[in-house]
């Protein structure tokens, strides 16, 4: 008898728990996009695990009708690594904010990426500490005024994606909380990647950092400040897609050009090659006002063996060498009878 499984909708991935983010928080939009992604993938609810650390974003697992583990500050990538090693057949997602992932948990993020554990890692970047009431974060821009930096912050921010590339990440992508079509597509690409896949989601904190990405997301500037990358397609943006990104071969840097001006033709515009790490690094670092923000899959290296696959192959190999008999091992080597 063939039973056709019921098709799950986005709603089927929502729990009955009351969502407790502030009204208008960008996290609502991300939750919706993730639930849609789950439905698009027809993900198995009981084989999916969301792991988070601490922070507003880290409440995420409570609202997903899957397995979920709300852990401690910064450590979600390490706990997720243990889960994946214990049961590699699980689909494991890691969720955290910029403080969780890039400040207290920066070390674990580094190593999860470098080891290439098969995880989807989502950083909700709102450039602020929300849950602790508004202190500046490691991604806050210089001069950010906050309760802990009343005169403005003086330290330089970290770029989540450039950091990831430096760590050896093999998949990086970026999207925006409210981009309900684009975000699920990036998440699906990350999900399909066998290895560590990092997605930075620009997220608005309506209470402590409202409008921090307005220079990118407001409708009057969006066309000029957002570059949607497509593999094999030229890097064009602007209202009429008249602007493009060109590689200046003398300075080895990117620059914005306008097709049809100063002798620039379509052929001058860079074509997106997801496998080009050097260009990916430059794309990851682009920011307004000089540049648009790069969105989509910025870097996707050819898949190699993921960490858990390699490590567990050693366990399998050890098991294949013969029955494991502890009694026998205890009696091997030098023994004597009394």
């Amino acid at each position: 008898m063939n039973v056709v499984p019921e098709r799950l909708t986005a709603k089927d991935y929502a729990t009955d728990q009351e969502v407790r983010w502030c009204p208008g928080c960008g996290d609502y939009a991300i939750l919706k996009a993730v639930q849609k992604t789950m439905a698009d993938l027809q993900a198995s609810r009981d084989r999916t695990v969301f792991v988070s650390g601490i922070g507003c974003a880290a409440r995420f697992p409570y609202y997903m009708e899957t397995y979920g583990f709300h852990t401690i500050h910064g450590r979600a990538p390490a706990i997720a690594t243990g889960i994946k090693l214990a049961n590699p057949s699980l689909d494991v997602w890691v969720v955290g904010g910029d403080g969780d992932m890039l400040s207290i948990g920066g070390n674990h993020l580094l190593h999860a990426l470098r080891r290439n554990v098969d995880l989807q890692i989502l950083i909700f970047n709102n450039e602020i500490y929300g849950l602790t009431k508004g202190q500046y974060s490691p991604t806050s821009r210089v001069g950010t005024r906050s309760p802990s930096t009343p005169q403005g912050s003086v330290d330089l921010p970290v770029s989540a994606l450039a950091f990831a590339l430096g760590c050896g990440a093999r998949f990086i992508g970026r999207s925006i909380d409210t981009e309900q079509k684009h975000l699920p597509e990036v998440l699906k690409r990350a999900h399909g990647y066998r290895g560590a896949a990092l997605v930075e989601i620009l997220q608005n904190c309506i209470v402590y950092n409202d409008g921090v990405f307005a220079d990118i997301t407001e409708s009057d500037v969006a066309d000029d400040r957002q570059l949607y990358l497509e593999p094999g397609q030229p890097m064009l943006f602007g209202k009429n897609r008249e602007k493009g990104i060109r590689l200046n071969r003398e300075t080895l840097s990117l620059e914005v050009v306008t097709v049809g001006q100063n002798g620039i033709t379509a052929a001058d515009v860079l074509v997106h090659d997801e496998k080009n790490k050097m260009i990916a690094h430059m794309l990851a670092l682009m920011e307004p006002p000089e540049f648009p923000v790069a969105l989509g899959v910025i870097y996707c290296a050819p898949e190699v063996q993921s960490y858990e696959t390699g490590l567990l192959a050693q366990v399998t190999e050890a098991k294949a060498k013969g029955a494991a008999d502890l009694n026998k091992i205890l009696r091997s080597g030098h023994t004597w009878k009394v």
Binding site: G82, A86, G322
Partner: protein, 623 residues
């Protein structure tokens, strides 16, 4: 019973003795640990009981000839029951002046010094901090000094081996071992076999040279070149329980015990660890036991190590992590998460001298407070302590049993001494151990993640991948009746009480406290835990022979304490608690039972001497 493997030569009668303490001491690069472990092996094969104490510097290769670069290996072996590595030395092998300088204080008056005069040149003598050559200035009159140019004799023995001068000289530890083998009538064959196995395939010339050096050292004793200066001894086999024995270190026994426990529970192991002295041997040994379903994860730090273990437990394996005090401190927040989410977890702490970095290679028992109390908020867990290298096996099995049955972290305390020391072990038959198989929750009907067994109060263990049981857990307080997030005050009181009651209740599931030596009542109870077992037991035994009403109580279960311990202590007029700390268990006993227990404390990086405990017992009872 196997007879001693070597026979005394007719011409030179052997003196029979009950037990001997020998300490091999030399430079870090002199191979003293190898020498000691080889001597241990042959003593075991000769049927002696024994205890060892490897004592080495934290530096990998400290500058040659310095006192802080001295590496030693002490063994106490005999035909009687051996409980400790020995209070004072009968024989000190000093491979250089620095070794003599450091270890002389441990030699008994009248004891023997075997010194390599080849290394007692002006430069080395001065580097060791002697004003004049101690072998020449009469300062060693109280001892028997045997001066041999071991360096020269070794070079002579290996001159045809084709080794460089440097490599040739490195064979001097085996020359010395050969001489000591002769002194105690030991069989050289196991060491020959070991050398061939160690170097045979890749560098057979090293095996040949070391064997030649060992044989030369042996022949040196045998052919009476010492002209009566040196005596040969016989140490008869000890009377020990029948069965098959092997030597085992604490690290090995722990690894095997954890694997045995995981098999009894029916679980694979997820072991997360970060290298730290003296805990790393467990990581190394488990990494070689993958065939038992052991995954070893060398994490980026201590926190990631415990977190990966917690992730492993969450996903249905037995999560284990291991470290020493400073690393355990880093893990504490995550251990709190495992307490809050009620996941099984075994945390092994091989204690070392502290605070902070302290003395990484020196032993101490100063993490009892950390284990029992060292977390934020009311965060009870189970604490166990191993008393000896071989005892680590049983303690590890018990740790796995309690962690899985009660869904709780269990802290297992060993120390640097236990982790590195070796002793003979009657190998248990694993088929006779009682299984305690874990049952995962699979029924969806009526499920929530904090459903409890009414008897044990353990929550259900439902792992990701189980159809229909998807749920969320975390470190936020949970509603008793649903497992959902709850900030309700009354609920927090109930959950806190329940977590405490669960751990307290384990007191009913562990054996009643017994007496190791002596009566159940008397004038003095000496209460110990961990690696002080040997000296306490021997001291109490000796003092009882002298008619004192003293008993030895030794705790494996530190938290919760055995349910009858309070009553037991009330049966004694006085309670003495020897510990290698400034008084931790003693405080716990005083607070739990309102007994006037007093401490006997020591933190100099060295285990208790039997005589120190005997002295303490006497001063309590003899006036």
């Amino acid at each position: 019973m196997v007879p001693p493997t070597a026979v005394a030569e007719a011409s030179r009668p052997r003196h029979e003795i009950d037990s001997v303490v020998v300490r091999f001491a030399g430079d870090s690069g002199d191979g003293m640990q190898v020498t000691g472990s080889q001597f241990t092996l042959t003593s075991a094969l000769a049927g002696n009981d024994f205890a060892t104490f490897p004592d080495f510097p934290a530096e990998i290769r400290a500058p040659v000839g310095t006192t802080f670069g001295v590496s030693s290996f002490q063994i106490n072996f005999g035909s009687q029951r051996i409980e400790t590595a020995g209070d004072s030395l009968d024989v000190l092998v000093a491979m250089n002046p620095a070794a003599l300088k450091v270890e002389l204080k441990n030699l008994r008056v009248g004891g023997t010094i075997i010194a390599d005069v080849g290394q007692f040149n002006d430069r080395n003598v001065k580097k060791a901090g002697f004003v004049a050559n101690p072998l020449e200035d009469g300062s060693l009159e109280k001892y028997r000094v045997i001066k041999i140019d071991i360096s020269a004799l070794t070079m002579e023995a290996v001159k045809n081996s084709g080794l460089s001068k440097r490599d040739g000289l490195r064979c001097k530890n085996f020359w010395t071992l050969g001489l000591i083998y002769w002194m105690y009538g030991r069989d050289r064959a196991p060491t020959v076999e070991w050398l061939n196995k160690r170097f045979g395939a890749k560098r057979p010339e090293l095996a040949t040279a070391n064997i030649a050096a060992m044989n030369a050292g042996h022949a040196f004793g045998e052919t009476a070149e010492m002209s009566g200066e040196m005596t040969a001894f016989t140490v008869r086999p000890a009377e020990i329980a029948a069965g098959v024995y092997r030597t085992i270190s604490g690290g090995e026994a722990l690894a095997y015990g954890l694997v045995a426990g995981s098999q009894l529970a029916g679980l694979n192991i997820m072991f997360g660890s970060y290298p730290i002295t003296p805990a790393s041997p467990l990581l190394h040994i488990l990494a070689g036991l993958k065939q038992f379903g052991v995954t070893t994860f060398q994490a980026e730090d201590e926190i990631a190590a415990v977190c990966a273990a917690i992730g492993g437990s969450y996903a249905g394996q037995l999560g284990i992590t291991s470290s020493s005090g400073p690393g355990i401190a880093l893990k504490m927040e995550a251990i709190g998460l495992a307490i809050s989410t009620e996941l099984p977890l075994v945390i092994v702490n091989s204690q070392r001298a502290g605070p902070s970095t302290g003395m990484p290679t020196k032993t101490e028992q100063s993490d009892l407070y950390q284990a029992v109390f060292g977390r934020n908020a009311d965060a009870p867990l189970v604490v166990l302590a191993s008393r000896s290298p071989s005892d680590c096996f049983e303690t590890a099995v018990e740790a796995v049993r309690l962690a899985t049955k009660y869904m709780t972290p269990v802290m297992l305390l060993t120390d640097g001494y236990i982790a590195n020391a070796a002793e003979p072990w009657l190998i248990p038959d694993l088929a006779k151990l009682k299984p305690f198989r874990v049952r995962f929750r699979t029924e969806a009907e009526g499920f929530h993640p904090f459903l409890r067994d009414p008897k044990t109060l353990a929550r259900v263990w439902a792992t990701p991948g189980t159809p229909g049981l998807q749920h969320r857990i975390g470190g936020i307080e949970k509603a008793y009746d649903s497992g959902h997030i709850s900030y309700e005050a009354g609920n927090h009181q109930k959950m806190t009480d329940t977590r405490k009651a669960k751990i307290d209740g384990i007191g009913n599931d562990i054996p009643e406290q017994g007496i190791e030596e002596g009566e159940r009542t008397g004038d003095l109870a000496v209460v110990g835990w961990g690696s002080t077992y040997g000296p306490i037991n021997r001291a109490v035994y000796t003092m009882r022979q002298k008619g004192l009403k003293v008993s030895h109580i030794h705790l494996r279960h530190i938290w919760p304490l055995p349910r009858n311990l309070g009553d037991l202590l009330k049966g004694f007029r006085r309670v003495l608690v020897p510990e290698m700390n400034t008084g931790q268990l003693v405080t716990v006993l005083r607070s739990q039972y309102l007994v006037a227990a007093e401490g006997l404390n020591k933190v100099n990086g060295q285990p208790f001497k039997i005589s120190e405990i005997e002295h303490a017992i006497r001063t309590r009872l003899e006036h």
